[in-house]
């Protein structure tokens, strides 16, 4: 990997000092993932991650610039210096830790599986040999590729396509972060999260480029500060609660550091 060789000298570009000098923080977010990162009717970026992003920029004292990404190019957006920080429902995994630097987690999830109510999937064994829909580059894909290899994965580029495929019965079920699936079934009552959580509990963190210690440290302090100040609770109430059903409680999602 030549990627390692070049990473050290480009790091400085994104240090806290540089960002302040530049006057803008570039944040990678999702654009089609309500309620985390999406664009509402009037064209404004909103969501749990987006609110966090705005707060982070504000605390840094700079303007914010959003870069919309898909799940499978979050890492490259960082490493190619397209963004300073990723706040896009980014689950911490050991593979990812090797290529980006994660700050303290601000959310916890695990992989869930959603299926039609009239053909409910409740056990992983039911997926054997069946088509399971995932989005490229998600934790769910990773889990079903490395831990549970019996399902036949259909891999899409975006959330929009993934859910369309499920509605079209391209697969028997769809796997993604469970909190997100709860939100989705609330809008789509014919479906249910039949498997509420599989695999270990996972954490969602901001990610910065490897070696960018100044921004990493700053972000860690920021997360701690915000947690103490109850920011995430408010964020949850405003952005997530309206989307989630009764099955979910704030404590299922947010972390008390």
């Amino acid at each position: 990997g030549s990627s390692k060789a070049s990473s050290s000298h480009t790091t400085n570009q994104n240090s806290v000092a540089k960002i302040k000098k530049r006057g803008t923080l570039r944040v990678a977010v999702f654009g089609d993932l309500p309620p985390y990162g999406w664009v509402n009717k009037s064209g404004q970026r909103v969501g749990y991650d987006v609110t966090l992003a705005r707060r982070v920029a504000k605390d840094l004292g700079v303007k914010i610039k959003f870069v919309q990404v898909n799940a499978n190019n979050r890492v490259d957006a960082l490493n190619a210096n397209k963004v300073d920080i990723v706040l896009a429902n980014f689950t911490v995994t050991s593979e990812r830790k090797q290529v980006v630097a994660f700050a303290k987690a601000y959310m916890k999830v695990s992989v869930g599986v959603v299926s039609p109510k009239d053909a409910k999937i409740t056990k992983v064994s039911q997926l054997k040999g069946q088509n399971l829909i995932v989005t490229k580059g998600t934790t769910a894909e990773n889990y079903f590729t490395s831990q549970q290899t019996s399902a036949n994965l259909l891999k899409f580029d975006s959330k929009t396509q993934q859910f369309n495929a499920l509605k079209n019965k391209r697969g028997v079920a769809l796997a993604d972060d469970n909190s997100y699936l709860y939100a989705w079934v609330k809008n789509n009552p014919k479906y249910t999260v039949g498997i509420k959580g599989i695999g270990p509990k996972q954490y969602i963190s901001p990610a910065v480029k490897k070696g960018n210690t100044s921004l990493l440290n700053w972000t860690n302090q920021e997360i701690t500060k915000l947690t103490k100040a109850g920011f995430f609770k408010t964020d949850y109430q405003q952005q997530l609660a309206p989307y989630f059903g009764k099955e979910v409680k704030a404590s299922d999602i947010i972390i008390n550091h």
């Binding site: 070049s6 993932l33 009037s42």
Partner: protein, 228 residues
């Protein structure tokens, strides 16, 4: 199915946002075509020179852009080259650049072909009255090659416009990306909005390309009539 979902198009600022996305798409295509055409004409002329190494290099350039699918080019220029060469351009600029380089490569071949299909005796007639190399290009070859290459150029333009649909794969807020945002944002109220959104995008592309394709047809017809 009580709800057709067509109001997705009119809700909020949805339609104007789609138009905004369309403008991004069109802008990238236009600038790329403009730059690519100019560069391509120069390269095309260079490719008719008897200089072998030069022709070989330009041929390699052409073949590279011909072989590598545009999706891959976009990834290459957006994510890999910045890492390797430490240049960092915004997504729209990268997209414009990739399309311009692609257009230039295809144009160079169109121009070369057109120049070579100007009848040999026209070139000789020009030489016979003592025209120099550039005078020959300027007064004889290029004016005659131009109508020969135009249909292929127009055809290439329609392909460029269509290929902008791949911009959704890098972080360009083109019309399809905006469309997907709208689809997700209105998922709850209008589950069938997806077809309307894709339908309108389909129409957008058609409306841009159809006149180009008519023009292409018209040019071809005129060329045929001139030939027979």
């Amino acid at each position: 199915m009580a709800h057709s979902g067509i109001d997705v198009l009119t809700a909020g600022s949805n339609f104007s946002r789609l138009l905004g996305g369309l403008w991004v798409t069109v802008k990238i295509a236009l600038i790329a075509i403009l730059i690519g055409t100019i560069v391509g004409i120069l390269l095309g002329i260079l490719r008719t020179l008897p200089n072998r190494p030069l022709r070989f290099i330009l041929r390699l350039y052409l073949e590279f852009f011909r072989i590598v699918p545009t999706v891959v080019l976009l990834f290459l220029f957006y994510y890999i080259l910045p890492k390797q060469f430490n240049v960092n351009l915004p997504a729209e600029t990268v997209a414009t650049l990739v399309f311009a380089l692609w257009v230039a490569s295809e144009m160079s071949d169109i121009v070369r072909g057109a120049l070579e299909s100007v009848p040999q005796h026209q070139k000789e007639a020009g030489q016979a009255i003592g025209l120099s190399y550039w005078q020959l290009q300027r007064y004889v070859l290029i004016p005659q090659a131009w109508p020969l290459g135009l249909p292929a150029t127009v055809n290439l333009m329609t392909r460029v416009v269509k290929t902008t649909s791949l911009l959704m794969l890098i972080s360009v807020m083109d019309v399809i990306n905006i469309g997907q945002q709208i689809i997700e944002a209105n998922n709850k109220t209008a589950p069938n909005g997806v077809f309307w959104i894709y339908g309108i995008i389909f129409m957008f592309y058609f409306i841009i390309n159809y006149p180009l394709s008519r023009w292409d047809k018209h040019l071809n017809k005129r060329r045929l009539e001139a030939n027979h």
